[in-house]
Structures are given as structure tokens and as C-alpha cells.
């Protein structure tokens, strides 16, 4: 958790620096992040409560509990996304410019996520005899958390190198393609995945679909830009 908060703080600093280059004022990006974060926290809790309404009906005071486990990540992301969309509409800011400005934030958060997986021993790998295997949960395993951290750092480096892309939205969509591509590859080494048809990992299928979606979005966005 501490690593994620640290990564978010570093990422926000990068996003703030990038915002002005994308035509967004420092004040607007700070407000957008603030409201997004508030929506993320409350949305995650409200979504969890709604999904477990019977558990809270017997102890409604627990809705205000400080337990971080009473949280639904999908609900949190949806609430944050809706809030960001409303904010950009009301302030007449381009959503593509916002997403481009926030891309370093997402990329650094990805590095933080890999490090937090490493610290907690979650998102662990398949057993292997490779010389760089790490002993975890009673077996020598692929250090998938290190792969994830390194790949996320590489993606951040690539995006930073290519940060002057003149087409709004392409920077963010390229990040989306890179991160989903990374997940397709790395999930092949993961041992904690839900398996579906003939042992195929569910996470890889979802990531492949997201990769395809990001390619389609890149083409739609390039078409919109050239049409203008």
C-alpha cells in the first residue's frame, strides 16, 4: 500500500509537469486528480457495500469502517472515470489531452504495482528451474513481480522518450497497447490465474481483447486527427 501511495505521488508530480505541455493548467489537473481520487475512494466503498448489502444491513456503521479490504476496485475505477469525464466536460478540456497528461501517472503506478506485488508475494509465478528463479511459497518460481516491475519501467522509459507525440490521445493509447501487450506476455508465467478452456488463462484473454481494442482506438483516433 505504501509503495502504491509513493508511486501515485511521484506519478502525480510527473503528470503535473506534463499537463501544461498538453494545454491543461496546473490548477485544472490538480482539481481533476483530487476529484478523481475522492470518487475512487468513495466509489470503491459504495460499490462494495452495494454488492454486499446484506452484510452491511446487520452492521450499517461498518460502512464507515477504516478497513481497506471493504473495497471494490472495479467500482472505484468506474466512479473515478465518470468523475474525470464530468470534470473535463464541465471545464471544456480535451479528454485526450488529459489522458496524455496522466499517462506518466499511470505508468509510474504500474511500477509501484509491480513493487507492491513483490513486497506482498502476490501475482506469483509458475515453478521453474531457471537460474534466476526466486523461492516463494515453498517453490522456486518465475520472479513475475520483478518481470512486471522491469517491464513497467521499460514502458515508462519508452513513453518518456516519445513524450512529444503531436497527436492528442496517441500517447495514452500507445501506453494502453504496451501495458496490455505486457500483460498478455507476463501472465503466461503467472501461477495465480483463473484458468478457462483447456487451461487458457482468463487474464490473457481479457488482455488480448484490451490489446485489440487499443489498436482499434489508435486507428479511430488517427482517423479523427487526419480528418481535422
Amino acid at each position: 500500500m505504501i509503495l502504491l501511495v509513493l508511486a501515485a505521488w511521484i506519478g502525480l508530480n510527473f503528470a503535473e509537469k506534463r499537463a501544461e505541455r498538453h494545454g491543461i493548467s496546473k490548477e485544472n489537473i490538480n482539481n481533476l486528480i483530487f476529484y478523481g481520487l475522492i470518487a475512487f475512494i468513495f466509489g470503491g466503498r459504495i460499490s462494495f457495500v452495494l454488492q454486499n448489502i446484506s452484510a452491511f444491513a446487520k452492521s450499517p456503521i461498518n460502512i464507515l469502517s477504516i478497513n481497506p479490504d471493504l473495497f471494490d476496485m472495479l467500482g472505484a475505477l468506474a466512479a473515478a472515470a465518470i468523475t474525470v469525464l464530468v470534470f473535463v466536460q464541465r471545464n471544456q478540456i480535451s479528454i485526450w489531452s488529459v489522458l496524455d497528461a496522466l499517462t506518466p501517472f499511470f505508468a509510474i503506478l504500474g511500477i509501484g504495482l509491480g513493487l507492491s506485488h513483490l513486497a506482498a508475494g502476490t501475482a506469483f509465478g509458475l515453478p521453474t528451474d531457471l537460474p534466476w528463479a526466486v523461492e516463494l511459497w515453498n517453490a522456486n518460481r518465475h520472479p513475475t513481480q520483478i518481470y512486471e516491475t522491469l517491464a513497467s519501467a521499460l514502458i515508462f522509459g519508452l513513453l518518456w522518450y516519445k513524450r512529444h507525440d503531436p497527436h492528442p490521445g496517441i500517447h495514452f493509447l500507445a501506453y494502453l497497447a504496451l501495458v496490455t501487450g505486457m500483460q498478455v506476455f507476463l501472465m503466461g508465467f503467472r501461477a495465480d490465474q483463473t484458468l478457462i478452456l483447456n487451461g487458457i488463462k482468463q487474464g490473457q484473454i481479457i488482455s488480448l481483447a484490451a490489446l485489440l481494442a487499443s489498436f482499434i482506438l489508435i486507428e479511430i483516433r488517427l482517423y479523427q486527427i487526419t480528418k481535422k
Partner: protein, 180 residues
């Protein structure tokens, strides 16, 4: 890069991704690393046999078929004290459905004489077990007190909650999950 070159690149990347997905399939027999024991969600819970202060013996593996909460705690730990009434309340609510609580006192780091008065003070009627050698703490890679392991009817850890105190609602959602 023109449109045609990009489309070719997309197709190549998607085909490579799909091939890798198929090639890496079936590397594990199921989502849980079956049969392996470790104190982590998805693994079989490490087995132990411990005694209560009155000499009654409990073995975790013998509780297969029941949903079990293994709670590692100590009398001097404030969040452990804070969550005990909630654990007792949830135990009373779900014990008839096959829910068992094994509250393992980290006796190696605690005063054994404080355990029974503690249980009496909070009117705890689930088994309080003594980890006098510290083996269970080691096997469960104890990092923080309290630590709670929610174990399903198959003996597989469904959820790990490090730290506390756990609220009633959190306990209720996790217990309902392992009772399924």
C-alpha cells in the same frame, strides 16, 4: 508508418499474443496451486495440530469440509483485542452452517497466563489454541498481528487479511464466501 504497415504490425502482434496464450496454457492444473501448502490465497493452508489451554487438541486438516478462520493473535495486541468481539459475533451467527474459528495465540511471544483471562473477559467460546513453539507463526510467515486466514471447505486459503481490527461486515462477507 502508414496505415497498411500498422495493420500488418497489429495482426502480427495479436497472432503472437494468441499463440503465446495457447502455448502457455495448462501450465498449472487449475487456478490454485493444488496440493501445495503456503500461507497465501489459492494454496492449501499449512496444517498444524495445537492444544487449547485446557489440553484439547485441534488439527486443521481434520476440519476439511468446514469453513475455517485461522486468526493469529496475542493478548497484548490492541487490534487483536478490538476485533475479538466481532469474531465472536460472526462465529455465533455462522457456526451452525459449518463455520469454525481457530484463534491461535502466539504464545511464544505472549504470556500464557494471560490467555484464559482474555478469553473469559471477551466471552470467547471458539477454540483458543496455543502456539508455544512459534511453529505455526513461522509456517504462516507471520508479519503482523493480527493476521487472519479464511479457509474454504476444501482446505484452500481464500483470503488473507493482514492487520486489523476487522469489522463485522468484512468478516461476514469473507465468511459467506468460504461457506459457499
Amino acid at each position: 508508418m502508414n496505415f497498411t504497415q500498422r495493420i500488418i504490425l497489429y495482426i502480427l502482434l495479436l497472432v503472437a499474443g494468441l499463440s503465446w496464450t495457447v502455448l502457455s496454457a495448462g501450465s498449472t492444473p487449475n487456478s490454485a496451486p493444488a496440493g501445495q501448502s503456503a500461507p497465501q490465497a489459492g494454496f492449501t493452508a499449512p496444517n498444524f495440530t495445537l492444544q487449547t489451554p485446557t489440553g484439547e487438541s485441534y488439527t486443521l486438516s481434520e476440519l476439511k469440509g468446514k469453513a475455517v478462520l485461522v486468526n493469529l493473535w496475542a493478548t497484548w495486541c490492541p487490534p487483536c483485542r478490538a476485533e475479538m468481539p466481532a469474531i465472536q459475533k460472526i462465529y455465533d451467527e455462522y457456526k451452525d452452517q459449518g463455520f469454525v474459528v481457530l484463534a491461535v495465540d502466539m504464545t511464544a511471544q505472549d504470556n500464557p497466563a494471560d490467555v484464559l483471562p482474555f478469553a473469559e473477559k471477551f466471552s470467547l467460546n471458539f477454540p483458543i489454541l496455543l502456539d508455544e513453539t512459534g511453529d505455526v507463526g513461522r509456517d504462516y510467515q507471520l508479519r503482523s498481528l493480527p493476521s487472519s486466514f479464511f479457509i474454504d471447505r476444501e482446505g484452500v486459503i481464500s483470503e488473507v487479511v493482514i492487520g486489523g481490527p476487522m469489522s463485522e461486515a468484512l468478516l461476514r462477507t469473507r465468511v459467506e464466501q468460504i461457506l459457499k
